[in-house]
């Protein structure tokens, strides 16, 4: 980007500066730390100059927004054309309570919906299963049947607003609930839009809400890709996630490398099935964390886009829509504290800003009570306002990739890309993504990083305000969410009534048909839809698949 002569001059000047200004000054006024390492333990230098990015070619490596390699953004106009979607992840108790919260959020300016399910639902168990004991509605909404889905979206214009659903093991079934509900409301399946997370690889790696072993899980996922691009064209059939990998303790580089690596694995499986890459790739989406190191996060998103574009091109994708990486971001839950919860608002603001400067398509901002309970109305409203202030008042949306060209940012973007490829080499040597998962490679890397980070905090080498420094013994003074005690009871009654009122012969017939198809190679979505339409419950449908596919047991790594 700069001529050779110029770089030589800059190099010399920098050396002179170090000799005459930097080191003498440092001697008299020592720096605050021995070295400054970011959250991937990369050392950050005393200054960045054109010398650090001299090897980059503007046209090839950086480019322009909306054009390959999409480093600077996936659309030519970015936020000048359309702001990111304000999409707050939300759900608790029974469908009625969550329905009210969704209406509240939409009223206050949210522009997309995002569903959080409770643990029994995430594992494909109905509320009255014995393993659901004590877990109903505690960390998300309980959905055991199409009836619950109807209540969840009652009075909400799902033909006009898109819905993201964080569901993995039983994703195909819960998606079927959503589709069936739309169909019952006479909404054309070709216009409903949204996302299912449906990313089983990261479940094995980090979040652990898997059900079936890898092969049948991948089969189900490719089934959704196929059904999606043919029947539900506005739907993102997967949200390839790094958020949870990061929350489990990985570094930013690991989050980047493992997530984009997972994405490529999904593409390979779909191609193996015979799908054409340009048919399904446009509907793949991603989901990243936004953690504390401001510039590292921005560099991470940029690197992700560039790597994805290059890799998909290598795999044969031709349509620009196949090459551009769209992603949702959530600010880092694990960075928020139970101590002095109000200051979490400040953390979230910085993290949200990083995501916007990194070009996210959609954003969830955590509430200040993240470490205490599910969000109260007040807390989630403030979180939403945070996004609105960034959007309306800060001016950062006026030009795409405002940090493009920064010596530090371009250097860091490049470094993170380089380290991603290093991780991919190691995974290749282990035999690929799934063998590496079964050997515990990812889990071990994550556990090591988590432990190292915790030790740094315990030794005060990294400061967490309010926790290991600036502590106060102040009682918590913010309202906390209270849930409806009678919700579980209501839900179980509803389930019992449903099981009585429906046509049980039809249900059993559909479940049998699903079982037969699961043993074969057909796409299972139509069979699942039939089960769902006849009001088979989540647990009943999932049990059929459990019986055919078996359950996954993870290797014990720590």
């Amino acid at each position: 980007m700069f001529g050779d002569e110029e770089i030589k001059k800059i190099k010399k000047n920098t050396k002179d500066w170090e000799k005459n200004d930097y080191f003498p000054h440092k001697k008299k006024h020592p720096e605050r730390k021995e070295n400054f390492k970011n959250l991937s333990w990369n050392e950050i230098k005393n200054v960045y100059t054109p010398e650090d990015i001299a090897h980059l070619d503007y046209e090839k490596d950086i480019g322009l927004p909306g054009k390959f390699p999409f480093l600077r953004g996936v659309h030519p106009t970015m936020y000048r054309g359309r702001l990111w979607t304000f999409r707050q992840f939300s759900g608790f108790g029974s469908a009625e309570e969550t329905n009210e919260r969704y209406k509240y959020l939409l009223e206050h300016g949210e522009t997309g919906l995002s569903v959080a399910f409770d643990y029994p639902t995430l594992y494909g168990y109905d509320t009255d299963h014995n393993l659901s004991r004590g877990e109903f509605g505690k960390c998300g909404v309980a959905i055991s049947s199409l009836k619950d889905m109807e209540i969840l979206f009652n009075g909400i214009p799902i033909d006009k607003v898109t819905t993201s659903m964080t569901i993995n093991g039983p994703a195909s079934i819960v998606w079927a609930f959503y589709i069936a509900n739309a169909e019952n409301r006479k909404i054309d399946r070709r216009i409903i839009g949204g996302t299912i997370q449906n990313d089983i690889l990261k479940e094995y790696i980090a979040q652990k809400s898997f059900i079936f072993p890898p092969e049948p899980s991948m089969r189900l996922i490719v089934d959704t890709f196929e059904f999606g691009y043919k029947e539900i064209p506005r739907w993102n059939t997967i949200s390839i996630s790094g958020y949870h990998i990061r929350e489990a303790g990985s570094t930013a580089v690991q989050e980047l490398a493992f997530t984009v690596g997972d994405g490529i694995e999904y593409v390979k499986w779909a191609i193996k099935r015979g799908l054409k890459i340009d048919d399904f790739a446009p509907r793949l989406s991603f989901f990243f964390n936004s953690h504390n190191d401001f510039f590292e996060e921005i560099a991470k998103y940029r690197a992700a886009r560039r790597i994805w574009a290059k890799e998909l091109k290598k795999l044969g994708a031709k349509k620009p829509r196949s090459l551009l990486m769209r992603f949702h971001t959530q600010t880092a839950g694990c960075s928020l504290t139970a101590q002095q919860p109000e200051i979490n608002i400040c953390r979230v603001t910085l993290q949200a800003l990083a995501a916007v400067l990194g070009g996210t398509q959609s954003l969830h901002t955590n509430s200040m009570d993240e470490a205490l309970a599910l969000p109260s109305e007040k807390a989630v409203r403030i979180a939403l306002r945070t996004q609105q202030i960034i959007a309306e008042e800060s001016g950062v949306s006026y030009t795409p990739d405002p940090l493009g060209g920064s010596y530090y940012i371009e250097w860091l973007t490049d470094k993170m890309e380089e380290e991603t490829y290093q991780y991919w080499d190691r995974v290749e040597k282990l035999g690929g993504v799934i063998p590496a998962i079964e050997k515990g490679f990812y889990q071990r890397e994550i556990a090591e990083a988590a432990y190292k980070y915790q030790r740094e905090i315990d030794k005060k080498q990294r400061i967490v305000v309010g926790v290991n420094e600036y502590q106060m013994d102040e009682p918590i003074n913010i309202p906390l969410l209270e849930m409806d005690e009678k919700g579980e009871h209501r839900q179980i009654n509803r389930l019992n009534k449903l099981r009585k009122d429906r046509n049980n012969q039809k249900v059993n017939r559909n479940l049998s048909k699903l079982e037969k198809a699961a043993k074969g190679e057909e796409n299972l979505m139509p069979y699942i839809l039939d089960c769902v339409h006849s009001y088979a419950t989540l647990g009943e449908t999932c049990q059929v698949l459990r019986d055919v596919f078996g359950e996954y047991e993870e290797p014990a790594i720590y």
Binding site: Y119, P120, L122, Y123, Y125, L131, S132, R133, G134, E135, K138, C139, Q207, K208, S209, E247, A248, G249, C334, T337, A338, Q339, A371, L372, A373, L374, I446, A447, A450, Y451, Q454, I457, D458, V464, G466, V467, N468, I476, L480, E554, A556, Y558
Partner: protein, 131 residues
Amino acid sequence: MEHRIRVLVAKPGLDGHDRGAKIVARALRDAGMEVIYTGLHQTAEMIVESAIQEDVDVIGLSLLSGAHMTLFIDVADLLKKKKISDVIVIGGGIIPKKDVPKLKRAGISGVFGPGTPCEDIVDFIQKNVKR
């Protein structure tokens, strides 16, 4: 006499967030304790049976899904039912302060929320084990 403190670290219920449990297990090991980590999806029966066979001094429960009132108390109740009184039960995760008194009354002797330094847990165990 070479008594080592033996700890069972367990994740009851469906919660799959094991980052904290694994970190605590390692920290306890680094403090000289023998640690058995049970892994995910444990029922109260499985936890107590493991605790009996391993003759642990401490059962450490980790839960971030909000189901602690049911699941932690299940473990404490089962220990009482089996007349096991020389094992202390501690818990960690996302546990609102307002729930702590009820947990303590039920037999959970220490509750360690987010931000707890590992040293605090080590100290508590060393000061409170019954043998």
